[in-house]
């Protein structure tokens, strides 16, 4: 039932750092089960928007509804922040694995601490998620012994294990060597097929085109255009979008 109901609804979100407003009233609907790619030039506020969804950044005003949970950013309670974070998971650009824990322990940690699972059960589940990202043979390795691509796949397993309603990907391949990007994108594509709602801030246009069901294009703290990938890449509505596509991928000019 893809796209049937709305998983996330953001209304008029404003975020400033000091006196500098970086998000000027964002409103956005994310359908359940969709894969939304957030594109845009650097400094356009993509990552900040993503980090507002799990309140790693606190917006000044606006509202957010995630499934049943309604949050007003201007008067948000600690309890709501925790619930919001328990319903979402995040994959970071720099992986951010827990350095003192093995791959397996990284995946099990949230299950033990947040979901209060017994250690044994948590580890058994963690094994399944490591299997899903193809790293079962690295279960006992610590993050420093893994390649960037492997670390990011562990991070994805860690996010999946929490069984979130939404996974937020913050430029998941930007810190990777070019030859390691594909293995992470492959895992992400596999995850997308399971119907979990994903929001992906990315510079990978290929991934956006192939895997995303929605494209959100941002510039200067505003959403310029939200459309399906076919429309976005072949027939964008806004001049700013065309300009962006011309700049980063000249070949799109010649597509029919």
């Amino acid at each position: 039932m893809r796209g049937h109901c709305i998983m996330i609804e953001i209304t008029d979100l404003h975020k400033s750092f000091g006196k500098n407003e970086v998000l000027h009233g964002i409103s956005l609907k994310i359908p359940q089960g969709s894969v939304t790619a957030v594109l845009g030039p650097s400094g356009s506020g993509k990552s900040t928007l993503l980090r507002c969804i799990n309140m790693l950044e606190a917006p000044q005003s606006g509202t957010l509804r995630l499934d049943q949970l309604q949050v007003d950013f201007a008067s948000v309670h600690k309890k709501d922040i925790l619930r919001l974070r328990q319903d979402t998971a995040m994959v970071f650009q720099a992986f951010n694995l827990f350095a003192h824990k093995t791959a397996l322990e990284n995946v099990a940690e949230g299950l033990i601490v947040v979901k209060k699972m017994p250690k044994k059960t948590a580890h058994a589940q963690a094994v399944q998620y490591l299997e899903k990202v193809g790293l079962i043979d690295r279960a006992g390795y610590s993050p420093t012994q893994l390649s960037g691509g492997q670390q990011q796949r562990v991070a994805i397993a860690r996010a999946l294990a929490m069984n979130p309603k939404v996974i937020l990907f913050d430029e998941p391949t930007s810190a990777l060597d070019p030859e390691l990007v594909q293995e992470v994108l492959t895992v992400m594509k596999k995850v997308s097929l399971e119907g979990i709602t994903m929001i992906v801030v990315t510079h990978e246009l290929g991934f956006a085109r192939e895997v995303a069901t929605d494209i959100v294009f941002m510039d200067d703290g505003r959403i310029v255009e939200q459309s399906a990938p076919q429309v976005f890449f072949n027939n964008p509505e806004q001049e700013r979008t065309r300009q962006f596509l011309r700049q980063i991928a000249p070949d799109y000019n010649y597509q029919i």
Partner: protein
């Protein structure tokens, strides 16, 4: 027998048990002050990291004072000051406590804890900040509370970073406890003084004291490096599996 020899060896041997009688006192001051100092230091570190408004100012003045005045002066301030303050409140609110019954060592616990706490706050703060912000965000993003993230993610890693400095601080503290003799507390130096005063064999008694301190410090250095190895277990490579 004493004749021309440089030192009275026999006296030295005899005085070892007497001087050693101060070891439990020295150790108790060091251990208690270190535990409470670590707690104080941890609280100050949190105040500084989270920049808690009013407390931030207060702790800054406190740390500055503790680092800017001699420990000996702080010992005297505790030794003479705390009873005075207690007496004042005791008469004002009719607490009915006999201040003269409080042993001097209690004031040593207080002054050494306060002193060590100030020094440890910087060590602990730096160790906490050494754990990447990204890991904290990862913990928060999965729904951990700040306390859970602190306990499960930050502290285990910060402890490994801090342990060499904590070890140094403990060794320094152990030696600093020798100043407690100034408040008539019978720790190692206090015992050495008492023993030597009878026969004026001061040099012998202090050599024994020095040897005891040295031995104890070597012992603790061993313990600390063992503890460090245990804490660093997760950093050991697993290449061979």
């Amino acid at each position: 027998m004493q004749g021309n020899s440089l030192l009275d060896w026999e006296y030295m041997l005899r005085s070892i048990p007497k001087v050693a009688a101060g070891i439990p006192v020295s150790l108790s001051i060091a251990l208690i002050a270190f535990v409470f100092g670590a707690m104080i230091g941890f609280c100050i570190a949190l105040v500084k990291i989270y920049r808690i408004p009013v407390l931030w100012r207060i702790t800054s003045v406190y740390v500055s004072f503790m680092r800017g005045t001699p420990l000996l002066v702080q010992i005297f301030l505790s030794y003479y000051g705390i009873p005075l303050v207690l007496r004042y409140f005791s008469t004002k609110y009719n607490w009915q406590i006999d201040i003269s019954q409080i042993p001097a060592i209690v004031f040593m616990y207080v002054s050494f804890s306060l002193n060590v706490g100030a020094y440890l706050s910087e060590t602990i703060r730096a160790a906490i900040l050494s754990v990447g912000k990204g890991q904290v965000e990862a913990a928060q993003s999965m729904g951990m509370t700040s306390a859970q993230a602190m306990r499960r993610i930050i502290l285990p890693q910060a402890a490994v970073v801090a342990i060499p400095n904590l070890g140094n601080s403990f060794i320094a503290l152990l030696k600093d406890t020798s100043l407690a003799f100034a408040a008539s507390v019978p720790e190692i130096i206090g015992q050495a003084k008492i023993t030597a005063a009878r026969t004026s064999n001061f040099l012998e008694a202090y050599i024994v004291a020095a040897a005891l301190y040295w031995l104890i410090c070597i012992l603790f250095e061993r313990l600390i490096s063992l503890g460090e190895k245990r804490l660093r277990r997760h950093e050991r490579a697993l290449y061979h599996d």
